[in-house]
Amino acid sequence: MAYEMYQEQILDHYKHPRNRGEMPDADLQARDYNPLCGDDLTIYLKTDEKGTITDVKFTGQGCAISQSSASMLTMMLKGKNISEAKGIDPDRIVKMLGIPLSAVRLKCALLSLQVLKKALFSKELSQAETMKE
């Protein structure tokens, strides 16, 4: 299984991550952590007034699967609407990667989606929290 996992595409994204870097003026951002293996990921998003994602970046460290998944996901996001991005489901990520994944590695693969969702819903969360107060 392992060798099928490390396909050229995956390795390419791992070695040459797209959209890697910080974004100090991000509109939305979130971080999460996979306690089992130490993968650590932050995603930053810039959006315009129509809710279109205009820029996206990520930082963090982890295995080839979690990092290439982040790289590929961020590529997919630019130009998408927030509500569209909210609809991305795990299956989509698995298809995007196109490799066999065990249960443990699935967590690595889905960390990027998990962080993205956290970022996308962070505004509503903080709004909801403000309203509560």
Binding site: M1, A2, M5, Y6, L36, C37, G62, R105
Partner: protein
């Protein structure tokens, strides 16, 4: 390189372990993760089956032959363990679920339910496994005691000047591992216990990585409490040990309340049974105890001195061979005699997870991740390591396979 006569007959030993016949992705299993959990010899597997097939019953209270046989098996295992670590008597041996539960029993029974308060301190080290960290965090949170941690030097040894600095009249407990599951470092417990006793503190030893791998003599160490797990020493999962000096155990409150651990119960109040049963609330796990007893018989028949020598040989060969890999970072002491039988490392090309995944394709099982020692990872400035660990069924050939496997990793990630 010519090798001297090995300390253990690994080819013969391997035949005792049914799992060694298993193929992984078509290749023979090369198991290098015994520090996580060891494999089990036929003798242990059969001791467990035989318990269930021949004398399974509730221990202690049954007035019938089966129950007496089960009790003999359970208490007999306790005797074996006492002898194995040279305890004064079997009443110093508490059966637990493992190292983690053992340390929690102390954190609750001596710590949270004890006489500690603000101003008291507990000293530990930065190299502890989470199991020897979190229970003390509980004591800190519930009793307001202060925790401090002895640091390590660049080679991975404890800074003994920290011991002198941190252990003071305020110190009530020094909780330290005998062997780090990441650095491999073997700590000078005797010296640490002596220092603790100078200020009337107790010394608890996490022996999860020591009792399975080299001779441990609790009277010689003079530690007050010592914890280890059966599953790391050829025994069944779900059984472990808390050793404690009788006086220390007697002064501790029980953690678990229920059957077995009581003397008299009335509505709203109860008195406790004698040690060690006071700490064994609930129906015991005699199958686990009997299996652990069989594991101890097995290890004793090999001789713990030989087990230790064998692992030093593997350490020496492993450090030599791994040391040749370009850019490798090996954690812990470079002297094979100063570390337990394990080597944690990182290589620049690949994340430990990816190393483990590719090695798996070659039939090789190693650990990757934070090894349940996040504070130590933080201290070393790395998020994760790859770790190969050795036991009685490993031979230098396993290290050769590991090295070959790492070459493959480098090829893939070149």
């Amino acid at each position: 390189m010519e090798r001297t006569k090995p300390s253990l007959d690994v080819a013969k030993i391997k035949k005792d372990f049914p799992i060694m016949e298993r193929k992984i992705h078509g290749k023979p299993l090369c198991y290098l993760d015994s520090a996580a959990t060891s494999q089990k010899p036929r003798q242990v597997i059969e001791a467990v089956s035989e318990f269930y097939s021949n004398y399974n019953a509730n221990v202690h209270r049954a007035i019938y032959e089966l129950g007496e046989d089960a009790t003999r098996g359970y208490e007999g295992a306790r005797e074996k363990i006492a002898h194995f670590i040279n305890a004064r008597s079997s009443s110093e041996i508490v059966f637990t679920r493992g190292t983690t539960e053992s340390i929690n029993i102390v954190a609750y029974g001596w710590g949270i339910k004890g006489k500690l308060g603000k101003g008291d301190e507990i000293v530990s080290t930065v190299m502890e496994h989470h199991s020897n960290h979190i229970p003390w965090f509980f004591v800190q949170d519930y009793k307001g005691v202060k925790l401090s941690w002895i640091d390590i030097d660049d080679e991975g040894y404890l800074k003994m000047e920290d011991l002198d600095r941190l252990v003071t009249e305020r110190t009530k407990m020094v909780a330290v591992t005998q062997c780090s599951n990441v650095l491999g470092t073997i700590n000078p417990i005797k010296e640490i216990a002596k220092k603790a006793h100078e200020v009337n503190a107790l010394c608890l030893v996490d022996a999860a990585q020591s009792v399975p791998h080299f001779p441990v003599d609790v009277q010689n160490l003079d530690c007050d409490l010592l914890a280890f797990s059966g599953h790391k020493m050829l025994g069944p999962t779900g059984i472990g040990v808390l050793y404690g000096k009788e006086k220390v155990l007697e002064e501790m409150e029980p953690m678990l309340g229920g059957g077995e651990m009581i003397r008299e119960v009335h509505l709203g109040r109860a008195t406790w049974n004698d040690v060690p049963w006071k700490f064994e609330g609930g129906t015991p796990d005699p199958a686990g105890a009997v299996g652990l007893g069989a594991a101890i018989d097995y290890l004793s028949s090999l001789g713990m001195q030989n087990v230790r020598k064998h692992e030093i040989e593997l350490n020496a060969y492993g450090l030599e061979m791994l040391g040749k890999i370009k850019g490798i970072r090996i954690l812990g002491p470079m002297d094979p005699k100063k570390r337990g039988g394990l080597i944690a490392f990182t290589i620049p090309e690949a994340h430990p997870h990816d190393i483990a995944a590719i090695l798996d394709a070659e039939g090789i099982a190693i650990r990757s991740g934070h090894n349940c020692a996040q504070p130590l990872m933080e201290r070393c400035g790395i998020p994760a390591t790859a770790r190969a660990s050795f036991y009685v069924y490993n031979s230098p050939e396993d290290i050769d396979r590991l090295i070959k496997g790492l070459k493959k990793v480098q090829e893939v990630f070149a």
